[in-house]
């Protein structure tokens, strides 16, 4: 990780999707213990994944982690808080519908 430069790495990951009545959830777990830091981006490679209804699927995939530069990480750490409303989950979506 450079001061201004981003770097890329790949990590094997397990994607688990539960698309069942009793549970709707989706999680990505890096198998090699890779950790995501502020400002990093993650992309799971390959086509879209969707479990059919009533099924829980697990797929092994490769994820590309784009590591933020030092500056970017610092910036995200110090400004991320401004997006705090993202943390508030209630009520309707934003904006007028009709």
């Amino acid at each position: 990780m450079g001061l201004f430069t981003r770097s890329k790495e790949t990590a094997p990951c397990t994607v688990t999707i539960s698309h069942r009545f009793e549970e709707l959830s989706a999680h990505v777990k890096f198998n090699n213990g890779a950790v995501v830091h502020p400002g990093d981006s993650v992309q799971v490679e390959g086509p879209e994944i969707m479990a059919p209804y009533g099924v829980c699927v697990e797929e092994q995939r490769i994820a590309t982690i784009t590591r933020a530069s030092k500056i970017e990480r610092l910036w995200t750490r110090s400004t991320g808080d401004f997006e705090f409303m993202e943390l508030c989950e209630f009520s309707f979506s934003e904006g007028v519908l009709s």
Partner: protein, 375 residues
Amino acid sequence: MNAPTHSAFANTAEEAIAAQDALDDPMTSEKATEVAMQNTLLTPRFYTTDFAEMDAVDVSSVREDWDRLITQMKSDPNKGHFKKNEEWDTVDWEGMEPALKAEFIDFLISSCTAEFSGCVLYKEMKRRGSNEDITTLFQLMARDEARHAGFINDALREAGVRVNLGFLTQQKKYTYFRPKFIYYATYLSEKIGYARYITIYRHLEENPELRFHPIFKWFREWCNDEFSHGEAFALLMKSDPKLTESFGNKLWIKFFLTAVYSTMWVRDHQRPLFHEALGVDVTWYGQEVFRKTSEISKQIFPMTLDIDHPRWRKNLDRMEAASRQIAAAKARGGLGGMMSRLGGMVKAATAFVSVFTIPAKTHRVPTSTRMEPTY
């Protein structure tokens, strides 16, 4: 589905087509329904926090209340609640007025996204932590959120809406929040969620003829889960007194209260048909939800907002008008649109400052945060 069998991993175009063909079963009526379903992309949020700080939380000062709460959550009182039984009556989707249907589906999708995002966040915390108190709590909360999301998803499917988890393979950028921001925001979201659901539930108990969808019948037990999650965040804050006692943090708390209440006011007022169909006066509803949330939040926050102050409602209405102006200006575009948008933002900010500067009501916080859902 393993890597080699998927078209994306094929080496040649022929292999890719063959792999794709192998996946295509004959069209069944069930599949046709799937295809015809309206697709809605779930867009949960992704963020990181200072997991080391969170992991270092020591709940020993609130141990008794903590253990009681965890035991209660482990006993899973709502395990059997989220099942469709004879109470789940048929919904007349065809007969529902399209504009009301749009608002109601927006309600279901927002709720589903909220539960889903909560689940992603809680699971991540569980995974990154090693402190058993913390990981147990987050695992239990992730369980509830995933269950709620599944239940709403089923209601959406009945309405012909299919959730799309395409976000999983899209590039996601992770932002950062300090743990205390997560505590304040999530605590309030859970408690205001409880107040919102229970207020509708009690209203429909008195006016059952207005219940236009069976999901409302499930609200009471459902919001008890939200209540418990809020209890957990109250205890987390209680374990570190400076989170609610220092001058700076008190300002943050007031800020979060103001932001959450005013956002709810603006968004609810922009869904008039939903509230009209339930026979709920949206202004009354807002104030009632604030009153309940304030009463509950006294368990941990040293202040409540003065929602009866003359400046309160006037400026919330101004914020709502400003939000409409901004949306209209955005749609209009051009230089005029930009100016109008800017004007709207200034109006919204002025109104927010006016609300934020209303003196808060302070009070003494009880020694124990413990509370039961009694509304």
